[in-house]
Symmetry: C2
Subunit: 365 residues, 2 copies
DNA sequence: TTGTATGCGTTATCAT
DNA sequence: ATGATAACGCATACAA
């Protein structure tokens, strides 16, 4: 309100405008905005006008000249799923703090949609891309699809050669969970493996572990840890204790139904997500099981969002994964070499696990 | 593998390249790609080359010429929160199906961060912006901040004049929930109002309803419906039955503690989210309350992600809200006028509500 | 219907 | 250290 310049905050200014207003050439201005040194007095003049106008460079024009735009892409299978939205939070936070913007697309859980998103993205203005593939082994896009875009794969492994992958140590997670249940005196441990679209039956899971594309599934990695812990403890593997299912609440119910129907005397459960575990537990409860006494449960999850049960879980640090993915991509964009990053996991003991107190008659549950 | 052109799929092509390869001028090409009519034979030639090269227009150059980029912005308070990530899913789906891209930023629940995001966004290449403000009444950004960008506000009301808002009918939701609990014979209905940062105490809530910025809070709207239903039923309002708190699990626990501590003989609860309700319920349960018999609970939520309790809830259709926001923004971008859209809500009766069976001695709980 | 020429905001080259 | 100018890929006014 103090003085009424003819400079309006509504307008969008170009370098040329600023040059005119400040009496400094566009070339010098460009250099200034790109961090090069200018004379002290020049800087003063520029700063004044920039303050008045609120000028900021056009990222479109910048990109047209072949420079970086500060925009990175993020493709997730389903942004409404907390697992991915927490990673996205990490990506966006880290990106923002580095002055980057995030172009985000959700594949809605479908490879078909994912392809469309990738196509849209690769013709876009991105400096680089963080790609979380839909969890199906078939029909993975070819690396050429990404057209020389600096690329980081998150969550999943072994998707592309020579592309950095950021993932959790699933095998260690499966191992820790299983070992802990064994330490609690539980030897009938159910493993509920979740897939977006299950590639095999419970009978086939052990063999499928060695299949060509098996390395891309988180359930498989965790399953390997499960096997390792069993072997270490001298407990024979029983495929009846495996349920192969998907990622929904109903999937958990179905898995529990299967485990109960096979008379496995299951006294421990390892599930991939909280939603699935909720389904499992509700089914077991309706059969009279008590958690954690009769059935101890461990999940893989980030415990940020507290649920009804405080699940004992393998902590997955999802926000952190997003941040790491951005940093890795940054390195790639700057031309540095970037390697795969395996994020460590820890077991958080909460309320869904306890020592096994054997009943008089295990058969009659 | 059939014939070996000198056209490589790796290269990025410009209009000029396509002009050279097809023998059509850049102007005609430009017109063609913008949907104008060209001669049949010309179209054939263009199509052939486009197929071979995989050419797509540079959105940066397009934007520089003042045309639309197909990019819209989405600012959410916290993408890791399921409430917002489900809206984001709707936004991204609808945007994708319209050939648009979504630049997405998370404010991490802080007005300060939100300001930075807005600043980044408004100097960006957006055709328009969907803005979900952080839930604090203070320090709302000025409309000028958005620099003539077509703008749609989602979730919240009364943020800007002459800007379309897309929101749920919170008052109806509060009314439906309260009325239903009353129909179940419950007259001591606790209202757990959640805020990102509570602007008043439970004693002050009734008065705060008329405050300047109160219209921006979803809790307030729902509270109005609560009051209306009470009045209709001739039940006097009791501020002791109100708990003003935040959005976490712990907030729910605290709210329950307050309600219990005030000896309110609460037999119904209306909570804003599932997380909060979970906290509430766990606290009441530890005091011996049974859900739904002793305490019936209704929440506001989208029931997509099934929890342990199948909560009776006011269904919020969040994905749909995202879609509607995009369509509204589309209209705005096309120069059409767009009005506020109030999305209808319905009550979904599930397992956390039942008729009240009075105890012998209500005092001794 | 099609082509030519100009300008959008920026960076890079070259000269000063 | 700074300024003038060409070039980036596209859209459009204008000419053909």
């Amino acid at each position: 309100m103090d003085n009424d310049n003819q400079i309006s905050i509504e307008t969008v200014y170009s370098l040329k405008d600023i040059a005119q207003l400040s009496g400094v050439s566009v070339a010098t201005l460009s250099r200034y905005f790109n961090g090069q040194k200018v004379r002290r007095s020049t800087e003063e003049k520029i700063k004044e006008i920039v303050d008045k106008t609120g000028y900021t460079p056009s990222i479109a024009a910048r990109f047209m000249r072949g420079r970086s735009t500060g925009v990175i892409g993020l493709i997730v299978p389903d942004i409404s799923h907390p697992f991915f939205s927490m990673i996205a939070e990490g990506v966006m936070n880290e990106a923002r703090d580095n002055g980057r913007l995030v172009l985000c697309g959700s594949s809605s859980g479908s490879r078909e949609v994912e392809k469309r998103v990738i196509r849209q993205f690769s013709q876009s203005i991105l400096d680089g891309l963080i790609y979380i593939p839909v969890g199906e082994a078939e029909d993975i896009p070819a690396i050429e699809t990404f057209r020389n875009l600096p690329l980081v794969v998150a969550v999943r492994l072994n998707i592309f050669k020579n592309v950095p992958h950021v993932y959790h140590d699933g095998e260690k997670g499966g191992y820790l969970a299983t070992k802990y249940l064994i330490q609690l005196g539980r030897t009938r441990i159910g493993f509920v493996a979740s897939f977006w679209s299950p590639p095999c039956t419970n009978e086939e899971l052990l063999e499928y572990t060695n299949a060509h594309l098996a390395g891309t599934f988180s359930s498989i990695h965790r399953f390997k840890g499960y096997l390792k812990a069993l072997e270490e403890a001298g407990i024979p593997y029983d495929p009846k204790l495996v349920a192969v299912t998907t990622y929904s609440h109903q999937a958990g119910v179905d898995a529990a139904t299967a485990l109960i129907g096979r008379f496995t005397n299951c006294n421990g459960i390892i599930a991939m997500t909280q939603i699935v575990a909720n389904g499992c537990v509700s089914r077991f409860k309706s059969q009279g099981y008590k958690v954690p006494e009769d059935l101890s449960v461990i999940i893989f999850d980030s415990n940020k969002q507290k649920a009804d049960y405080a699940y004992t879980n393998v902590e997955l640090s999802l926000v952190e994964m997003g941040q790491i993915a951005v940093r890795t991509l940054d390195n790639l964009i700057k031309g540095k070499k970037a390697n795969d990053i395996c994020i460590d996991v820890t077991l958080q003991v909460r309320e869904t696990t306890s020592f096994l107190h054997p009943r008089e008659n295990d058969e009659t549950i």
